[in-house]
């Protein structure tokens, strides 16, 4: 503990609490409603303290990974950190995938991990693992409790670090002897934390913003490229206003879907590996890219050497390390996207200038031509159900307003391409780490916190089996998630790559002996519906969404041969794509 300031409410006499009680009390004071976790030896004192109060509610999962994804998805939907409590050793290591998932997508999360007694640390004690060492490269920060009286401060610090700057998961390791029920300490929950070594920027540099506005106004072929930073930075409104003020074409990254309404005419679709033809073409030919809360990920840029040769790049990001990491930014702006966009809007309104109308008009004409080339088409002239069609129907029946929690694979890309996200925080998927098994627990985390909303889990028969045990948790907490299982019998994305790069040698991408998902759902006490023909889909969806409070597992048998298109040609530029099995640019 160093000289960081603590602000303490001194109006009341200090309350004496055990370390365990302080953990729970601090969470309550932080406004935490749900704690996702799984008990075990090292955290039993904490669980006992949890039992003796009713402010913080605990959700008992069936595997710790699910607890982390639930907390993560809550954070993605609400913007606030989700909280996880797991025991030491295997409890902690089971949480690792979830922590890494949150880290890759910059999701705020506080993970409390039990640890063996301090004096046993380093002795290879029962259920001991070096969780600080294990989690170091996959979290924003981690800490360990050395003195019970530090617990409130460390919990506040964990939330502070998790939720400010570029958000991310924070791990707090708590040795069991820090939570002894009979040792009590004065409890003060700090109202704020000030760390001398961590002062994340808020506002962007005014001069840089002016420079950016000037460059933007001079553009003839601009594009607005918005990522997950706009979602987590709660700046969708400002982004939309800016785009509409200047009539800019907008593309969203996989993480940014919903940042700009998909139903609007200025939206040209997702970009990148499975981005729309028009988004990738528009990016490639742009003379100015305004990147907002996006990080020029390799799944976006394709070959960085061939990336957008004519573009001046303005890059707004809270993390300076994301700027000029893969693609050099001409005008970098470090700051939170919301205040930066607000200031850009103010400067623009003051200048009362618009882009060159004629140039912009012909740019839009060009984009319209690109739109006509592919336009999200797929071959619907088959007797088999097309996964794209399923997603379109789900989008229709939920009016684009559901929380869509996806697993990882082809179904994820179809959901991203064909669900019409008109609002931020509705699309919840593991974009960076690509964690199969994310979808169901994510949907659970959202449903628990937004019980009146439609919450959909788009998954496949591969991904769903990675956390299928959580169907039991769903029953226990009455989580009426709708599972859209796009079942094609194959690990579809692996198969697609094998079709395209390995002459269709399906090495371990076919799953034999799949369970009867309908019976399985029923075994857990849920409703299962099988859909094998196109005409069965509509009634099945209607029935599923009418069963408001019930989990419905829709096992939808789709065309096993379908591929995701467009798909960027490996090693090519943004605009080099396969458009179908037989066409490429």
């Amino acid at each position: 503990m160093t000289s960081q300031t603590k602000s303490v409410d001194t109006t009341k006499a200090p309350e004496m609490l055990s370390g365990a009680a302080m953990v729970i009390r601090a969470l309550a004071d932080e406004g935490v409603e749900y704690l996702y976790g799984y008990p075990g030896g090292a955290v039993l004192h904490i669980y006992d303290a949890l039992f003796q109060q009713n402010k913080v509610k605990h959700v008992l999962v069936r595997h710790e990974q699910a607890a982390t994804h639930m907390a993560d998805a809550y954070a993605r939907a609400s913007g606030k950190a989700g909280v996880v409590l797991v025991t030491s050793g295997p409890g902690a290591t089971n949480a690792v995938t979830g922590i890494a998932t949150a880290y890759m997508d910059s999701i705020p999360m506080v993970v409390l991990t039990g640890q063996v007694m301090s004096h046993l640390i380093g002795d290879d004690a029962f259920q001991e693992t070096d969780m600080l060492g294990i989690s170091r490269p996959i979290c924003k920060h981690n800490m360990s409790v050395r003195r019970p009286e530090d617990i409130p401060y460390l919990i506040k610090k964990a939330f502070h670090i998790a939720q400010t700057g570029r958000p991310g998961p924070v791990v707090l390791d708590i040795p069991k002897d820090m939570t002894m029920p009979n040792q009590k300490f004065a409890y003060h929950y700090p109202s704020e934390i000030n760390l001398r070594s961590y002062q994340p920027k808020q506002q962007g540099h005014a001069g840089q913003i002016k420079k950016a506005v000037t460059a933007l106004l001079a553009a003839k072929k601009p594009i607005l490229y918005a990522g997950g930073g706009v979602i987590m930075g709660q700046a969708a409104e400002e982004l939309t206003e800016l785009a509409q003020l200047l009539n800019l074409p907008v593309t969203n990254t996989l993480m940014g879907l919903g940042a700009y309404p998909a139903g609007d005419k200025q939206f040209i679709g997702m970009l990148g590996m499975h981005g729309s033809y028009e988004a990738n073409q528009t990016m490639h030919h742009a003379d100015l890219i305004l990147a907002v809360g996006a990080r020029f990920d390799d799944r976006v840029t394709n070959n960085t050497k061939k990336f957008c040769p004519d573009a001046t790049i303005i890059h707004i990001d809270i993390d300076p390390a994301s700027i000029s990491k893969t693609i050099n930014a001409h005008i970098p702006i470090v700051g939170l996207v919301k205040p930066v966009l607000t200031e850009m809007l103010a400067v623009l309104k003051q200048k009362k200038k618009k882009l060159d109308t004629t140039a912009l008009q012909s740019w839009w004409q060009q984009i319209a031509q690109w739109r006509a080339v592919h336009g999200g088409r797929y071959d619907s002239a088959t007797p088999l159900l097309k996964p794209q069609y399923v997603i379109e129907q789900v989008s229709k029946i939920t009016k684009g307003d559901a929380y869509v929690c996806s697993d990882v694979g082809q179904h994820q890309m179809f959901a991203a391409q064909y669900y019409q996200f008109n609002k931020p925080n509705r699309w919840i998927n593991s974009g960076g780490l690509g964690t199969m098994g994310f979808g169901l627990p994510a949907a659970m985390g959202v449903k628990l916190n937004y019980p009146d909303a439609d919450v959909v889990c788009v998954t496949g028969e591969g991904s769903i089996q990675m956390n299928i045990q959580e169907l039991s948790t769903c029953k226990q907490y009455g989580l009426g998630v709708k599972i859209i299982n796009l079942n094609n019998g194959y690990l579809g994305m692996v198969k697609q790559w094998q079709d395209m790069n390995y002459e269709s040698r399906y090495a371990s991408s076919y799953m034999d002996s799949l369970p009867d998902f309908v019976k399985l759902a029923e075994a857990y006490g849920h409703v299962g519906i099988r859909v094998t023909k196109p005409e069965e889909l509509q009634p099945a969806l209607e029935r599923a969404f009418a069963l408001k409070d019930q989990l419905v597992f829709l096992d939808i048998h789709v065309d096993p041969k379908e591929h995701v298109y467009p798909m960027q040609v490996p090693g090519g530029a943004m605009n080099e794509m396969f458009l179908s099995k037989t066409e490429r640019t």
């Binding site: 160093t2 170091r136 490269p137 360990s144 001398r196 070594s197 390390a321």
Partner: protein, 163 residues
């Protein structure tokens, strides 16, 4: 290119591991690393010698900044600076060699800090290049052991890396 990066970081457990881990995770080189608490015991000063082009060095600097315990980062090799490294060398020193080693140490302004009938231990301070040159200059003298501290550095003039 060789760069000397100075870091001021919280003197907390795990801070150094996090910093070193960053280099391993992101594939950056560490040629040498030197760390100790400063006059303020809550802060450690670390000097790190690394290699990389401008883009790599910029990323290293930004990634270091991102670590919660890192207070300040400076690439001191970007401007006028002083670099020093301490080396202890134990050499075989028999017969005629004893005189030769002594002369060599004198030329490099080294000090013989331990003597036995058959060995000398020489202490030498200077830039890393100078220490390399001394080892070269020892020529045929059998070297028994070399201990180097890694470079420490400080900016010239009024510029400081402090709170």
């Amino acid at each position: 290119m060789r760069h000397i990066i100075s870091v001021l970081l919280e003197n907390e457990s795990g801070a150094l591991a996090r910093l070193v881990g960053l280099f391993a995770q992101r594939g950056y080189n560490i040629d040498s690393l030197n760390v100790a608490p400063t006059d303020d015991p809550t802060l450690s000063r670390l000097t790190l010698v690394t290699q990389g082009n401008d883009q790599v060095i910029e990323q290293i600097s930004k990634q270091l900044h991102k670590l919660i315990e890192v207070v300040k980062v400076s690439d001191i090799s970007e401007a006028a600076h002083i670099e020093r490294e301490l080396m202890l060398v134990k050499v075989k020193a028999n017969g005629n060699q004893r005189e030769e080693v002594k002369r060599c140490a004198d030329i490099f302004r080294g000090q013989i800090i331990d003597v036995t009938p058959t060995t000398y231990t020489i202490q030498l301070v200077g830039t890393s290049d100078k220490l390399d040159a001394f080892i070269q200059a020892l020529g045929a003298t059998p070297i028994l052991e070399v201990v180097r501290s890694g470079a420490s550095g400080i900016a010239r003039g009024e510029k400081t890396l402090a709170l």
